[in-house]
């Protein structure tokens, strides 16, 4: 039976597998990249099964391609449903982006134009995915490096998307910060436009400063600006399960748990303030 996601978690990454299998990692839940476990069998699935006994699980996808103009792939949905049935996760999520068109798969989270046409496509695809999976999904706001002319802002698009489909939001605070700097909008406007009652999970991560743009790399500690934005988001959203994504340059588990303690502290401050 699926657990409920609550508290503070981490992305389960290979250097720390033993702590999750043993159940000694001091976290409230774990998240994994769905596609890494959409496989027939073997050690990765065995590891996840063992960790799953100790922690509530979030499945976070990167290849559904919810924004593809030519729809979703049946084989992908079948394999994801198989994993969902096997693992009974508390949350299943993917990104507001597209990764595939026709027979080409970019393996990157590519930006959408925020147009009425794209909104129709995304909502149609979410409806299909939620039906195929038999459950509500969360969709994550992306970081982006190109902004196309559109009829609405990203937060207006997200708000309408949740209203039409009933999906929830995975609010990535680092992505808001990265895109706000790259495209010159105010992160506070973004947060004010988000339907906070739809937010089911929050992601935190780090980024690097490129020559022209901020790049969402998940290879750095969460920086002060993102912590400040997390404080603002928490004040608006209330208690939301929160986790740190670290995909590269991965430190010891203790270092990540110390970062997670900062998130706990900020969330506690905002609860007291409320």
């Amino acid at each position: 039976m699926s657990d409920t996601l609550a508290g503070f978690g981490l992305g389960m990454r290979r250097p720390h597998y033993r702590s999750y299998i043993d159940g000694t990692a001091p976290v409230d839940f774990i998240e994994v990249i769905s596609e890494n476990f959409m496989i027939a069998g073997g050690k990765p699935l065995d590891t996840l099964m063992k960790a799953r006994r100790n922690y509530p699980l979030a499945l976070h996808g990167v290849s559904m391609s919810i924004g593809s103009a030519d729809g979703l792939r049946d084989d992908y949905l079948r394999e994801l449903r198989r994993l969902v049935d096997l693992m009974e996760p508390a949350v299943v999520s993917d990104h507001l982006c597209w990764t595939r068109i026709d027979e080409f798969n970019s393996h990157d989270l590519l930006p959408l134009p925020y147009t009425e046409e794209a909104l129709d496509v995304v909502c149609r695809n979410i409806d299909r995915a939620q039906e195929a999976l038999g459950r509500r999904m969360l969709l994550e706001n992306p970081s982006s490096y190109i902004a196309f002319p559109g009829a609405m802002t990203e937060w207006e698009f997200l708000a309408e998307m949740t209203r039409r489909t009933g999906c929830g939001l995975l609010l990535d605070v680092n992505n808001i910060y990265v895109s706000a700097v790259n495209h010159g909008f105010a992160a506070s406007d973004y947060l004010a436009g988000i339907p906070m009652d739809a937010v089911g999970q929050i992601h935190l991560a780090g980024h690097v400063k490129g020559e022209h743009l901020l790049i969402d790399t998940h290879d750095q500690p969460v920086p002060d600006e993102v912590w400040a934005l997390y404080r603002a988001a928490t004040a608006l959203a209330g208690p939301v399960p929160t986790m740190i994504e670290r995909d590269d340059n991965i430190p010891e588990l203790e270092a990540l748990c110390a970062e997670l303690d900062i998130a706990r502290s900020i969330a506690a401050d905002e609860r007291i303030a409320a």
Partner: protein
Amino acid sequence: MSLLALQRNFRDWLVTGEDSSAAALGGGPGTAVYQNNYRTALVSSLAETFQRLVLWLGEDGFEAAAARYIDARPPSSWTLDAYGEDFTDFVATLWPDDPEVAEIALIDWTVGQVFVGPDADALRPEALAVADWETAGIHAVPSLLVLPITTNADAIWQALATAEPPPPAEMAECGAALLVWRQGLEPVFRRAEAHECDVLAWSAAGEGFAAVCARLADTLGEEAAVTSAGTLLGRWLAEGMIAAVG
């Protein structure tokens, strides 16, 4: 521009890197970020899949081969792990006079596939005692794969995997093959013994063990065939290669 047209333009930019495709997306430094992300992710994925080939070719040689592969074979599968599926055949065309290169790649690829292949418990030896050997056949674990090889790529691969100096490439004896399977959760491989591939192939085709022994007797004579098949069966049991008898 329709969403479909925009997405196809974006694909063209990632695949070709041509300025005209970038211009159709509005140009600017963001397009270069996506181009870099696309190629970096594919090279990293190939390097992760073909770890021993990277060591054999060196990073520069491997990355040059990967770059040509990315140009020639844009990815289509939803899982990045599948991207290297055609890489073995591709490197065979790049090093036609060095067959060990493609065979090292083939071992890398196959070991990776076996690692995430279907699960099956290995048969316990006591199960043999209750089998009806008049009709029973041997069913190998589903992860088992047979790879014909022409070089000593297996010895090179093992040396590279254990950070030992690899032997020079040389040709293998005619008809050599590797058996690759999973013992529990760990992939393993070894050279097939004489007649072992035949016995496995006949068994996989549904022939009972008695029939397999009879076919083997056509080559070896009855007594040697029974001895040989029994020795193979014992070895397979000890190595966790059999899932069922029946």
